[in-house]
Every structure is written in C-alpha cells, then in structure tokens.
C-alpha cells in the first residue's frame, strides 16, 4: 500500500483548524508540550485536528501509521492487511465525528467493529494519541507515552548537566584537554578529543565505552557531529520525549536538544520528502568518507542498518561516516539507494581507470557499507561485470587479430605453392619444346638421308 505523507488534511467534510500546538516543523514527532490554542471549541460542527496529525487522509496510509501499527503491514496474516486497517481507522474516526463533541470510548467502538478486540484497541489508542479522536482543544492532559506507560510514570529525570570540572589532562597525549573530553568509566581514562578520534587508547577498549564530556562554554553553542548523531538517535528512539532525548545526548539540556533539532538542515526532510539535494549531500559524504577510510576497516559493513538500531553504525569512530549512515537511514531506502548507486558508479569508474587492485575493493565495500547495506551485492557484481566485459572485449580483439594473421599466412603459403607449380610447368614445357626440336631435327636428318639414298640409287641405275 502506498505510504505517502500528504501535507493536506482530510476530506472536505471536515474543517480542520490546526492550532499550532508544537514547535517542531516535522509532522512525525508529536508535541510534548501542548499549549492552549487561541480559539475555543464553541462551534460544534468543526472538528479540530492537531497540526501534528496533518498527515491524515481517508484514503492513504502515512508512514507513522505503518511504524506504530506494524502488525497490519507486515503481511504475516492475510486478513490483517492495510485495507482492514483502513476500515478500522476510518470507521472509528467516522463514529467519533458523528457523535462529536462527545468523546467516544473504546467499548463503543469495539462493539461496532467486526474484528478482534485487541486490534481495535491498538488502532483506537493510536488515533487517540495522535488526536484524531477524542481530541479536545483544551487538553492539558499529558499525551500517552510512546510505549504506553501509565500517565503517572512521568517522573522527569534530570538531564545530564554540563560537567563543570577542573582542567583535565588527557591520558593519551598528556596534554590539557580544552574543548571536549572523552571519559571511559570502565577503565577510568580521560582522553582529549584528538586522542579519541585517533584511536590513541589501549587495545581492547571499544569506542563505545567513551562518553563525551563538555568542557568549554564555546562547545555549548556549537553542536559536534557526535552530539548531533546522538540527538538524532535519541529522537528516533524516544520520539517526542525530550527528557529522554536530553539524557541520551550527553551534556545538552532539553531546550538545547529541541532547538538544535529544529535547526538541523534535514529536519524538514524528516517528513520523507527526499530531494536531490539530500541525495547529493549523502553522495558527497559517502565519497568524502570513502577517501578518508584508508585502512578499509569494515566493521560497519557487516552490521545491518535497521532504522531503530543505529548504534552499531553510529558508533563509528569516524563521525562523518556515521552521519552518512544516519542520513541514509533518515532519507529512506530509495534515496540512499540512489545515492549509493551514484557513488558506486563513480567509484567503480575511478577504480577501473586507475588500476584494478585490492584498494578498489575496500572503496567499493565502504561505499556499500555507507549505504547501510541497502545496496545489494548486485551493485558490486555490476562493477565487476563491467570490468570483465572490457577484458573480454580485449581478448576478443586479440583473437580476431590472430585469426586474420593465420588466414594471411595460409594465403601466402598457397601463393608460394602455386608459384612452385608454375615453375614446374615451365620446365616441363621447356622440356617438351626441346624434345619437339630434337624430333624435328631427327626427322630432317632422316629425310635428307633418304633423299641421299634415293639419289645414289638413281645414279647407280643409269
């Protein structure tokens, strides 16, 4: 089923007045803070749909629906298909809007829908969460948490504040850490940023063990790559729970996280609209990182890049690589595929022209790894096949040359043979001529002899 994310609201029967309830521009994350909208719901006929549910359409299924209710879309059972989901969803919403503004209860709905009750409940909860049913514009109630914990469980964990520590000395290079520090609690190491990136730590310690600690004021305003990555990871995991996001991103408060997320250049593209810009960006990043990866370590190549499980890739010591991987996850499979394909083409051309040695393969493998495993082996095979084809062409040309030479030789031999024969013929003819001449002379001699003999006979007779 097509999973578009239409920007316009539902059908024309409803007037969706969308008060701006959320700060985020993306349609994916639901608002955690719901402010009071200016207009009150005095008019019974208008149904309010919150701005974060603008994607809703009677005939289409949006991505967030696919993600929240995967059971209808994974084709495990024949009757739990998207059509059935649409039936449930539309019936529930219709029923709610028929009786608007009265709130509809789950039991009302479940009694009227032909389905097993748990599926109904899931769709109902989903719709209620997204404000498509039972949405009262004066709701000050906290929306349900993403993983359905009870509302009382809203204890806020204090976000990790910036550690105001004294000057720290790096264990690796014995210099004073200024900008940022990486702390490994397990082995009690403190490394400066440079040492951490260079991998200047003991063998056996994984880069995941390190936690970043902010030191200077300056770093507060500038978001590093790692922080951005953590932010995006956290948002994908926790959705709109900014407290959790803040705890995941070390050293940033909630506000910082939210504002940074909004400022992110591809914050817009969260809504699955892939431009060529995005793919170009991804392409550049992939190319750039492929150049950087000199050792060709493919620790990323093996791990699958599912949407939610970013940590294996995101923890790469090369933040640009990791960001590229994250981007490709963000942009969706199609864009990532296109970008990776373009990258692979470019790289394979370069490889072929330069030399076909071992360095060609890690490049390609990196490009493939960057695409996050979305590109199948067929891409690599395609590049290999191309070089093979060219080799074959050369071979064929060589073979043709040989054949032509052989033919020429044959002809030459025949000519030689012919000449020999010709010579033989000449000789024989000459012989024949000689013999003819001899014969003639013999005949002449005989004639003369006979005449002489006859003449002498005549003389005798007289």
């Amino acid at each position: 089923m097509a999973a578009k994310a239409p920007d316009s609201g539902g059908s024309g029967e409803i007037l969706p007045i969308t008060p701006s309830l959320s700060e985020t521009t993306s349609g994916v994350t639901a608002a955690s803070q719901s402010t009071q909208p200016p207009s009150s719901s005095s008019d019974v006929d208008t149904v309010y749909v919150p701005s974060y549910s603008r994607w809703f359409s009677w005939t289409d299924i949006d991505d967030c629906e696919v993600r929240s209710l995967p059971e209808f879309f994974n084709s495990k059972s024949s009757s739990k298909n998207p059509k059935f989901y649409i039936y449930l969803r539309n019936s529930i919403i219709k029923q709610y809007r028929d009786d608007h503004p009265r709130k509809i209860s789950f039991t009302d709905v479940r009694r009227t829908l032909v389905s097993d009750v748990v599926s109904i409940r899931r769709v109902f909860d989903f719709l209620e969460y997204w404000g498509l049913i039972n949405h009262s514009s004066s709701s000050s109630a906290k929306p349900l948490k993403w993983d359905e914990k009870s509302a009382g469980d809203a204890s806020s964990e204090p976000p990790t504040t910036v550690k105001e520590t004294a000057k720290r000395i790096c264990n690796g290079c014995k210099s004073i850490c200024s900008v940022a520090c990486f702390v490994c609690d397990k082995y009690e190491l403190t490394l400066c940023a440079r040492c951490y990136v260079r991998g200047n730590y003991r063998v056996g310690i994984n880069s995941t063990e390190f936690k970043r600690v902010e030191l200077s004021e300056e770093s507060k305003k500038v978001w590093s790559e790692k922080e951005t990555l953590q932010l995006m990871e956290a948002v994908m995991h926790y959705g709109d729970d900014w407290k959790k996001v803040a705890t995941h991103v070390t050293g940033r408060t909630e506000k910082d996280c939210v504002s940074q997320f909004v400022k992110l250049p591809f914050g817009e593209q969260f809504v699955k609209e892939s431009d060529s810009e995005d793919s170009l960006e991804a392409f550049d990043k992939i190319k750039g990182s492929a150049d950087l990866e000199s050792g060709g370590s493919d620790k990323e190549g093996s791990s699958p890049n599912k949407r939610m499980r970013l940590t294996p890739l995101a923890d790469a010591s090369n933040p640009i690589m990791a960001q590229a991987a994250f981007l490709s996850a963000l942009a969706g499979t199609k864009v990532a595929e296109a970008a990776a394909r373009a990258a692979v083409t470019a790289l394979s051309d370069v490889d072929y022209e330069a030399e076909k040695n071992a360095t060609g393969d890690p490049h390609r493998q990196d490009a493939n790894a960057n695409s996050g495993g979305d590109i199948t082996n067929s891409e690599r095979a395609w590049a290999d096949a191309k070089s093979l084809i060219q080799k074959e062409e050369q071979e064929v040309e060589g073979a043709i040359k040989e054949i032509v030479e052989v033919e020429m030789k044959k002809i030459r031999d025949r000519i030689v043979h012919f000449e020999k024969l010709d010579l033989e013929m000449e000789r024989s003819r000459k012989q024949l001529e000689d013999m003819k001449n001899l014969l003639f002379t013999d005949q002449l001699n005989i004639f003369f002899h006979t005449r002489k003999a006859r003449k002498s006979e005549d003389r005798v007779d007289c």
Binding site: S78, S79, S91, S105, R111, T112, L113, D116
Partner: protein
C-alpha cells in the same frame, strides 16, 4: 502409519480455528453487585496476556461498571483463553466437511435469521469478512450486528472444531491399530456434515432444491421497541 483411505480423508491437523485468523470467541456474562454485564467478542490468542487486564480495565471504565468487575472479566477471559489453548496442542480431523451454519440472533432492534454452508476445511475462511459483507448487502444499519454475526459464526466453528478433536481422540483410543480409512467415516458420523461426494455427483445438481430455498435465505427483521422488550422478557424467563 496412516494408510490412505477414502479420497476425502486428510491427515490430522493441529487444532486451530479453521479460519484465516485464529481468533477465539469469548463470551462474558458476569453478575455482581446487582449489575449484569453480558458481552461477546473475538480475541486473538496470540496477543500478550497483559492485554486481558488492559481490556478489562478499559471496558469497566467505559461502561462505568464497579471496579470489582475488572478481575472477574479478566478471569473469565483468561479461563476461556486457556481452554482454547488446551485444545491447541491436539490433533483434529477435519475431513471433507461442509457444515451448515445457522444464525438466529437479535442485536438491539435487528433480528437476523440465516443459514448457509461453510467449508470447514477452508482454513482461509474469514467470518469477519462474511459478516461485514452480509451486513452491507442486507443494508443493516445497526453497526453492532456485524460483530455479533461474526461472533456467532466463530462460536459454531469453535464448537465443531472441539467436537472433531474429541472424536479424533476417541477414534484413536478405540480404534488403535485399525487402518486410517476409518477416520474419515468417524468424522462424518457426527451427522452434521454433508457428503460432498453425494452433493456433487452426477445424479444430483448443485442447484438447491426448492424446499430448501426458504431455509437458506437470510431474513432481517427490524423490531419495534415493544417487540424488543417482549422478547427480552421472554429470554429472561427462559434463562431462569
């Protein structure tokens, strides 16, 4: 070793609802503190068990029942689910069974009477789809009829599935060592099923006989409120 008997005989299948979705019909009838709660719905047994309590809480909250109902509802659902699960490990013989399913239910103001044939062997059958189509085709306005129809069908299928498990067990116990061909006849002996071979043979036609036409036609009646009250009173009397 099972020998191949008659053409209609199939090997035993693990027990499950003979429908595309393995859903269990759950019936609730709880009385407590002077209030009576009757309900019927379908449940998916593969859902996690905490859903039962969640559902019970939701229902009690929505219907404003006293909270004592929560545990009772949850218990009832759980026991029916565990009954179902107890059957799940066992074999059932389905054979070539086409069974008539009868509907005779009253939902609010709508009365439905119907009878139709259902293929028990069709494990892709969908009572929900059937119920939805039935309501749409007959122009039933009350949306609560659909679920009731689906539930009724499921209940009957469930009954028959249970019977086939029981008969399978019986036949295995009593006819140990005999050839497998007898199993087919055992399932047919339930009396409900129709003989496919006879039905689709040369002599008879697929077209239904006239006298059966009325039986197999769906009837939808809309009752007035007084009739509804009268029927309800009669049902109560019967229940006691």
């Amino acid at each position: 070793m099972k020998a191949l008997g008659s053409s209609g005989w199939k090997g035993p299948v693990k027990f499950r609802m003979p429908t595309a979705e393995n859903l269990v019909p759950i019936r609730l009838d709880i009385q407590s503190e002077g209030q009576r709660y009757k309900d019927a719905f379908t449940w998916n047994p593969s859902d996690p068990d905490n859903e039962v309590v969640v559902f019970a809480k939701r229902t009690v909250k929505d219907l404003k029942l006293p909270s004592a109902f929560i545990t009772q509802i949850a218990q009832s659902i759980q026991s029916q689910l565990s009954d179902f699960r107890a059957y799940e490990g066992q074999d059932m013989y389905t054979g070539e069974k086409i069974i008539p399913i009868k509907l005779d239910l009253r939902v609010n103001h709508t009365l439905i009477k119907d009878q139709f044939l259902w293929d028990l062997n069709n494990f892709e059958s969908d009572p929900e789809e059937f119920a939805r189509t039935l309501c749409k085709d007959l122009g039933v306005e009350d949306p609560e009829v659909g679920p009731a129809v689906a539930f009724a069908i499921r209940e009957q299928l469930y009954e028959i599935a249970i019977q086939s498990v029981a008969s399978a067990r019986e036949s295995r116990l009593s006819k140990k060592g005999r050839r497998g061909s007898d199993h087919g006849s055992a399932s047919k002996a339930s009396g409900l099923s129709m003989d496919l071979v006879k039905l689709f043979s040369f002599k008879s036609s697929v077209v239904r006989k006239r006298k059966d036409l009325d039986v197999y036609e769906p009837v939808v009646d809309l009752l007035t409120s007084e009739e509804v009250d009268a029927l309800e009173a009669r049902e109560e009397r019967h229940a006691r």
